[in-house]
Amino acid sequence: MVKKETQTIEALLDANNFDFSTVKVLDESGKIVNEALMPELSDEELVDFMEKMVFYREWNERMFALSRQGRLGFVAPTAGQEASQLGTVLATTSDDVLFPGYRDLPQLMEHGLPRHKAFLWSKGHVDGSTYPEDFRAYPPQIIIGAQYVQAAGAALGIKKNGRKAIAMTWTGDGGSSQGDFYEGINYAGAYKAPAVFVIQNNGWAISTPRESQTAAPTLAQKAVAAGIPGIQVDGMDILAVYAVTKAAREFAIEGNGPVLIETLCYRYGAHSLSGDDPKRYQPEGAQEHWRGLDPLNRFRIFLTEKGLWTEEREEEVVAQAKEEAKQAIQDAEAAPKQKVSDFLKNMFEEADQITQEQIEQYEAKENK
């Protein structure tokens, strides 16, 4: 009698393990570690990437300062996520439709949102979310996950309209636990709709660490169940993020369906500036670890060695960010007071009787 090999459950499971190793181009010492993936970028473009990262690092500082002065409302820090946010959005064009989350104001600004509108959004003014018709983006989403299903819809619309574009959306590691997340990637996959879904895995959903979100070893592998490609990329490496996103966009535009990208990054600051204190929950040393992988730092070394970047240039960009933030907050503060009667007028194309009565009541109050 031949003794049957006992199959261990582990052996069966092993076959289902996928390799989702992290895509990298530039390491933390500023060295190119993957020449084959190095995107084709001119010197000007490389410098532009650095300028943008420096700009938004300083912009983040300005938001802190303005928030402390009570001049902003809701503020979600972005420092640490520059390569992830900019590397993805810089691979898009103005034809693409963006569905950002509440932390993704830099992407919106790069897409053309006037800076003062970003501040107005923070302060809670309708003008911050009032976009011209040809601006292809939705206001930052508060309901985590909602942007994913909407992006799937926009992507299907783009496909039906025969446009050569994508819908791009972002959520966090926490957001990748939402039902809407799965529904969004699954729908886009089923319709082969041109969407690029980004998970910015910054390690934390408020106080909940990434390990508590899911037993999955990577978030990129969630793509497998939807039948679409999933890629994990070093989110502190703007060249890698850009290269992967650009490839994903081309893949989607060619009619191959959506792509899911997980960017490994870190949020240096609090979850938001509304009373969250990361010291309560983050382990000691984590900040230092991630600061060592800083996206600006490695790109700065890389460019400096190429002779493309100087301290003076960096100071100029910082000064420019300060100046633009100053102007933007002044413009935001000059926005007209909002009227309840206008809100009422914007509820429906045509007001019903009770709404009409309320419009009159509020107009009477406002004109007093």
Binding site: G124, S177, S212, M347
Partner: protein, 325 residues
Amino acid sequence: MAQMTMIQAITDALDIELNKDDRTLIFGEDVGKNGGVFRATEGLQDKHGEDRVFNTPLAESGIGGLAIGLSMEGFRPIMEIQFFGFLFEVMDSIAGQMSRTRFRMGGSRNMPITVRSPFGGGVATPEMHADSLEGLIAQSPGVKVVIPSNPYDAKGLLISSIRDNDPVVFLEHMKLYRSFREEVPEGEYTIPLGEANVVKEGTDVSIIAYGAMVREAIAAAETLEKEGINAEIIDLRTVYPLDIDTLIKTTEKTGRVVVVQEAQRQAGVGEKVISEISQRAVLSLKAPIQFVAAPNTVYPFGMAEKEWLPNANDIVEAVKEATVF
């Protein structure tokens, strides 16, 4: 007795119930080490362990489903929805599922779930955090909806909610969390669900309110007192089921009624109060019932909350309408 804010009273109630019954569990987003974004569960994980007080992944529908399943295994879940504006993500679990389990299983099962959630405006949260959505739940058969207006009530009502064998949605107005302190007894005490509170006796007009609007009603009554109008204030405390007896009694006493809610005028709890009074005590009324509520728009952007939210002045004006009639 100790002086407590509403949030301290809530933490105290949760602590008491965790101590009393080890089948009681607390879970939700960030309720563990962080103690919740408002610190309502502060220290509870340290004290009662990670098996009893734990973080969930970020998915409200999952939180609701977890509560239902755990109930079937004999636990008493206290689930937190981080902000009630996220209700829509968990609407099916609450209004579609836990609400009807007793009914669809012929009364053979309990659903002893408490859904805690902060809500309410005036604290400049981002969009979709402050909406008053109690009307949606109050319209769903099979769920009780409790809304305390002060620390004393919050503790007694929360203990009752946790001990109730039916699903209770317990809504905590964010503006009330830390705005004042009050004497709260140590140890356990309960306030029955479904009983309104006569906050202040009065003879000329009845102001019926709940949640943060009770504070506005109290401020309005002080102004009115100076003008010689003596208002009675009723705090509903539970918006479903309503305390019909108290509503009728006060209507018969004063003959003039002003109903106040923070939610939009469109529909909801206030409409239900007006409807019950109209159906049961219309002949006791000396004037049309006045209704103070927010306008029929989406909850507004942060910078416009002040103009939008109903306040004590609006109540004063409505009372005058009702009394000069």
